[in-house]
């Protein structure tokens, strides 16, 4: 249980611009293959996401971390593309810092609260975005567990590393473990 007397959490940190600049030349294909595998695993393990997406299961979402030099196009089929810039013709675009996007995926932050504080920007089909947000919030994803699946026999130490990184990011902002 988190300490209820703790101060309210502040904003999650962003990736420093110099680090983002250094990431700019990186090839996107390896990242796309890895994250595409993670997305397939998430959908395979959480079929209820499709039910909650309902009529929006075919929507194409553009996800733009504002502190990274690339973006993601995600479809519930599932399919994921990593791109330098989001293309036209998407059903909806969602942009926020990488930390906020990951926290949203795990249900550690409230999407409406991020909208109120202007840390989350939504454009396009708002209904599709709400369906996606609610479907993901219900799925109770653990990204450390999902990402560590990429590491095969090294999954356990990879998971511990992801959990430690997540813990440091959360602690730096005052967010507790309230949503676990």
């Amino acid at each position: 249980m988190n300490d209820p007397s703790a101060a309210s959490p502040g904003p999650l940190p962003t990736i420093p611009p110099l680090v983002a600049l250094a990431m700019r030349p990186l090839p996107l294909l390896p990242l796309q293959l890895a994250l595409g595998g993670v997305l397939q695993r998430i959908y395979r393990r959480n079929p209820a996401i499709f039910d909650r997406l309902g009529d929006h299961a075919r929507a194409r979402f553009g996800i733009k971390p504002i502190d990274l030099p690339f973006a993601f196009v995600v479809e519930a089929r599932p399919r994921l593309s990593v791109v330098r810039d989001l293309p036209r013709g998407l059903d909806a675009r969602i942009s926020a810092s990488l930390a906020n996007l990951l926290a949203l995926l795990e249900g550690r932050v409230d999407g409406d609260a991020l909208m109120f504080s202007r840390e989350l920007v939504v454009e396009g089909d708002v209904e599709a975005v709400l369906a996606l947000r609610n479907a993901i919030d219900d799925a109770q994803l653990d990204l450390a567990e999902e990402l560590s699946s990429l590491f095969g026999p090294l999954g356990a130490p990879a998971r511990r590393a992801f959990e430690a990184t997540r813990g440091r990011v959360i602690a730096s902002s005052g967010h507790g473990e309230q949503s676990r």
């Binding site: 249980m1 988190n2 209820p4 007397s5 703790a6 101060a7 309210s8 959490p9 039910d51 909650r52 997406l53 309902g54 009529d55 929006h56 249900g107 550690r108 932050v109 409230d110 999407g111 409406d112 609260a113 909208m115 109120f116 504080s117 202007r118 920007v121 939504v122 454009e123 708002v126 209904e127 599709a128 975005v129 709400l130 369906a131 996606l132 947000r133 609610n134 479907a135 919030d137 219900d138 799925a139 109770q140 309230q178 949503s179």
Partner: protein, 326 residues
């Protein structure tokens, strides 16, 4: 101790509410029978049965909101919702329509019934009508009453009273507001959606974010200005008298400081709004009020985290509870 009634839009949020200390959780079916009929939200029949089993196993109650007004051509949908919630073992049904209340009272005479805030029952005579005719045991009071008015109503009513303590602040006569319907053809009263997301657009402009509902501009927020929901009642409009918030600022209700007054007024239960919110909101807000109630009971000073990050417009008010404008 006053009961803490908490929202859940998904099974995961229901579990979060239980973990955080909810005495009861209110939720609804994933259709137009409840007033939070948003995409990706709410419960299937199977999810409700499992949710009730989970809650009862942990000593919590489940209240099922069937609080929209049945359409004349489709009353069966609402009747089925009442039957299914009762047979699933709901601890109470939260209803607004008197026809549906009558149906529930006749078909399920042992089922506990609560009067939804959507019924806008705001005086002892109206409440007595529900209690005497349908056996309603509790009324959720509209958010337009002061604490002394709540005390008077509670004293004169046969029903238990439940009041909102946090979340979206509906400033209109609930169940009778047609603003959303005027702009979009859909309302919380009939379709279960206030400002349906299918009619909402956000546009990034040089001046900031412009929010629109059904083609009507609701607001334009500067890049660092806190935002609110795209509802007409919280819109910023230009009039002959100037530009500003005509009805209400984008702000959330927070009655943390009024818990003692509400207890002394005889209120039975405290309700947290927000079935459309995520697990992080449910967890934090429920824990906040559980801690505040424990402090109230023990007579100690509550040192509790601010709920400001969760508030609309990053601001809160005690609303009509401390009415100064009348």
């Amino acid at each position: 101790m006053m009961e803490l009634i908490c929202p859940a839009g998904t099974p995961a949020a229901l579990k979060s509410a239980i973990d955080a200390g909810a005495d009861a959780i209110y939720c609804g079916f994933n259709d137009e029978t409840n007033a939070r009929n948003f995409p990706g939200l709410n419960f299937s029949r199977d999810e409700l049965r499992k949710g009730i089993a989970l809650a009862h196993g942990r000593g919590a109650k489940i209240l099922v909101a069937i609080n929209t007004f049945p359409r004349a051509s489709a009353v069966d949908i609402w009747h089925r919702a009442v039957d299914d919630a009762a047979s699933a073992g709901a601890d109470a049904l939260i209803l607004a329509d008197i026809g549906l209340m009558d149906y529930a009272a006749r078909r399920h005479p042992n089922q506990r019934l609560h009067v939804s805030v959507q019924a806008a029952a705001a005086n002892p005579d109206a409440i007595a009508f529900y209690a005497e005719n349908f056996g309603a045991r509790r009324v959720v009071l509209p958010r337009v009453l002061s604490v002394p008015e709540i005390a008077e109503i509670t004293r004169e009513s046969a029903c238990e009273t439940e009041v909102f303590v946090f979340g979206g602040l509906c400033v209109m006569a609930e169940g009778r507001c047609s603003l959303s319907s005027y702009a979009t053809g859909k309302s919380p009263n009939m379709q279960g959606v206030c400002s349906p997301p299918s009619h909402v657009t956000y546009e990034q402009t040089a001046e900031g974010t412009k929010s629109s509902l059904g083609g009507f501009t609701i607001n334009r927020f500067g890049s660092s200005e806190p935002a609110g929901y795209p509802t007409l009642c919280k819109g910023r409009f230009s009039t002959a008298q100037g530009a500003g918030y005509i009805f209400e600022d984008p702000v959330s209700l927070d009655a943390t400081t009024l818990l003692k007054g509400l207890r002394d007024a005889g209120v039975t239960a405290l309700k947290i709004e927000g079935r459309q919110r995520g697990r992080a909101y449910v967890e934090s807000v429920v824990r906040h009020f559980r801690h505040a109630l424990a402090a109230l009971e023990s007579g100690s000073e509550a040192e509790i985290a601010s709920l400001k990050p969760f508030t609309e417009g990053q601001a809160s008010t005690v609303g009509a509870y401390r009415k100064t404008w009348r």
